[in-house]
Structure formats: C-alpha cells, structure tokens
C-alpha cells in the first residue's frame, strides 16, 4: 500500500499474498495459457527430508509454470513459503535452475522466453545445507546467463520475504518488484539476534524489522524497481510492463562502484538505524 487508505477499492482488491503459490503463479499468465511442469503428481520430492524425520511435499515447494504473458512466452517459478519456509533444497533448486536453463535454450534458439521468480523463501533449507548452497550458485549463474536475452523478474510479495542466498538471486535479477508487506535481506532478523544479541537487533520488533527489510525501505533505497500494492491485478500488470520493457541497459548487480561507495560511507563503530540507511536513497547511485 503505497498510500494506506482502507478505501472500498483496497478492500475489494484480490490479494496476491493470500493466493496460494500455485494460484499466484497462474495469476500472472494470459488466461488459459498456464500449464504446470514437474507438478505434484510427478512426485519429484526431496530424498533427504524423510530420513531426517521431516515430511516431504510432492512438489518440493517449487512450482514451475509455462505459458504466455501478454502473448510473450514466459516461465514462472513460485516458491511456497508455507513449506519449510520456502527453503531451497536439492530438488526445488534443480527445478528452478532447469526452468531457467530451458528458457535460456529457447532464447538461444530464437524463441524469446522471459522468467518470473515468485520468491517466498528463507534461503537454503538447512536440512539440505550443502546441496542447497550448490543450488543457489547454479541459480545465480543461470539467472545471469538468461538475463542477457530477456528480463528476469523477481517478485517478493509476502511477509516470508526473501533471505539468505536467494536474496543474492533476487539481486542479480533484472527487476525486483516488492509489496510493502514483503521483506528482502541477506541475514534474517532472527539470525542477527542469535549471532549478535538482542541489543544489536531485536527480532521481535516488527516495526524495526520492516523499517530495515520492508518493501518501502528497499524501494526508497533504490534496491527495488517497483513497489506494488498487495493486489493480484496490479502485480500482473507490473510484470507485464516489465516483460515489455525488456532487458535493462545496465543491471543493478553490474553497478559495483556506487553500491561500494554507499557501504564505504557507513561508520560501523556506531549503531545504524533505519533513518540512516534510508538516507542512502539521497546519495548518488
């Protein structure tokens, strides 16, 4: 909600966050064009969870759909934040990488195919730590290969947010779309509190957390391209517009010097607050 008004339009909107992951993916496609690949009945599930006493899910929490967006070929990969916090394991990571690589091959063969990532993920799934880390490396390299041809669009809509290695994957995508409810960061608040103490970062302070990681802050800092309402229609339109906009002249992750200068200007001997990091937005980037 870029302007929080509980108007009739807002209350009557179709929430994107409240859709399940499969519905979210489907809502981005032209009606009737979406078809799921490697779905739950294919039973490509994690072989590692059951042996650790964790119930697996038939799609490993990763949904891959193919179809058209505004009549352009596209693949949407959605993570299900309700299953293992959307964590990346061997199988879900391989599904994402394979989807990106197939899209890349289509582009190489002269058939433009864009990719949209719906990221509701805490990063690497701890039960599959090393395989998950390897998966993140593959995902990043596949995004970088694909973004030469078509935009790779990351959408971070829900409060699960996008953390850990997957925040790096979002960082190398062509465009990032967030809602104010979304969160984006490398180390999550619980991890920082655990490592550095509650004086450093209070993970139970929701207003502090959203003022650091939240969509509004990330947009103001210039780390996000579009701040959208939690509205399925608005998010679908935003994705369509970004597909049409094409590959950016320079990707955010190629702008090393401006971001390095932002970090260099911060003084780590003092406690930072949301206002200080918000002032990044007024610095030259």
């Amino acid at each position: 909600m870029s302007n929080l008004v509980l108007s009739r339009e807002y209350l009557q909107r179709r929430s994107f966050i409240e859709l399940n992951a499969r519905e979210r993916a489907k809502s981005l496609f032209d009606p009737g064009t979406a078809r799921e690949l490697a779905g739950p009945f294919d039973r490509i599930e994690s072989p590692w969870l059951a042996i650790q006493g964790v119930t697996p899910q038939a799609d490993d929490g990763c949904i891959v759909m193919r179809g058209t967006i505004d009549s352009c070929q596209a693949v949407v990969i959605a993570f299900n934040g309700a299953f293992q916090g959307g964590g990346i394991g061997e199988v879900s990571g391989a599904k994402l990488t394979a989807a990106l690589d197939l899209a890349c091959r289509d582009n190489e063969n002269g058939k433009p195919t864009s990719a949209v990532l719906l990221l509701e993920t805490g990063g690497v799934r701890l039960q599959e730590a090393n395989l998950g880390l390897a998966a993140v490396a593959e995902i990043i390299s596949s995004i970088i290969a694909l973004r030469r041809y078509v935009p790779v669009i990351s959408v971070i809509a829900g409060p699960v947010g996008c953390f850990g290695g997957m925040s790096l994957a979002a960082g190398v995508s062509s465009y990032i779309v967030m809602t104010p409810e979304g969160r984006l960061g490398l180390n999550g608040p619980e991890v920082i509190e655990e490592e550095s103490g509650v004086e450093e970062f209070d993970a139970s302070d929701r207003s502090l957390i959203w003022s650091i990681y939240g969509g509004q802050q990330r947009y103001d800092q210039g780390l996000v391209d579009v701040l959208a309402d939690d509205d399925a229609g608005q998010i679908a339109t935003t994705v369509r517009d970004l597909v049409a906009k094409g590959v950016p002249a320079i990707h955010r992750s190629q702008q090393v010097d401006p971001y390095r200068s932002r970090i260099a200007a911060l003084d780590p001997s003092t406690q930072w607050d949301p206002g200080l990091v918000h002032s990044w937005s007024s610095w030259s980037a």
């Binding site: 739950p40 009945f41 964790v54 299953f83």
Partner: protein, 97 residues
C-alpha cells in the same frame, strides 16, 4: 515421522485427480487420484508420531461416506483431525468439479 497405509472397499470410478493443501505447520497436502481397482488405498506420512488410531478413526469416517476407487497420499505437518477432514472433502470437491 511415521508412515502407514489403510485400505477401504470402493464401488465407483472417478476420472479426475486432485491436489490440495500444503505441508505447512498444522496443515497437510492431499493427492487424490483415480485407480482401476475395487479398493481405495491411503498412504499417510506424518511428522507427528503416535496418532495412528486417530488417523484410522478420521479415515473410517471419511470412507463411510465416500466410495470411489482412489489412491490418496497424505503428507502431514501436524494437522488436527478437523483440518484433515476438511482437506479430504476439499480434494473430493476438486476431483468432482
């Protein structure tokens, strides 16, 4: 994690499969698909041990009113019996829609 299987008699055939739910805390995933058989089979994997009798009671009740030849797989993350019954009904609705 525990795994068990149950079988029930079946009288009629259905044509459509259905997938509902998510393996999230307090929830479960149901995969329901038609099979060519005179019996229905259910395979359950649950993260909460020690409730086999409760599962049997919930499924006995469900199959007292449902007679299609199906194979059902349930992946459970600690759903209550009420939530299990609702998800089963939702799967049936989706398969008959």
């Amino acid at each position: 994690m525990e795994q068990f299987e149950f079988n029930y008699p079946a009288k009629r055939k259905i044509t459509k499969r259905a997938h509902v739910g998510v393996v999230g805390s307090g929830d479960l995933e149901v995969l329901l698909e038609p099979i060519d058989s005179t019996a229905a089979s259910v395979r359950i994997r649950t993260s909460v041990d020690g409730f086999k009798n409760t599962w049997k009671t919930v499924l006995d009740r469900f199959f007292s009113q449902y007679d299609a030849a199906v194979h059902i797989e349930i992946n459970d993350a600690g759903a209550t019996p009420g939530a299990v019954s609702l998800r089963l009904q939702q799967a049936v609705e989706a398969s008959e829609a």
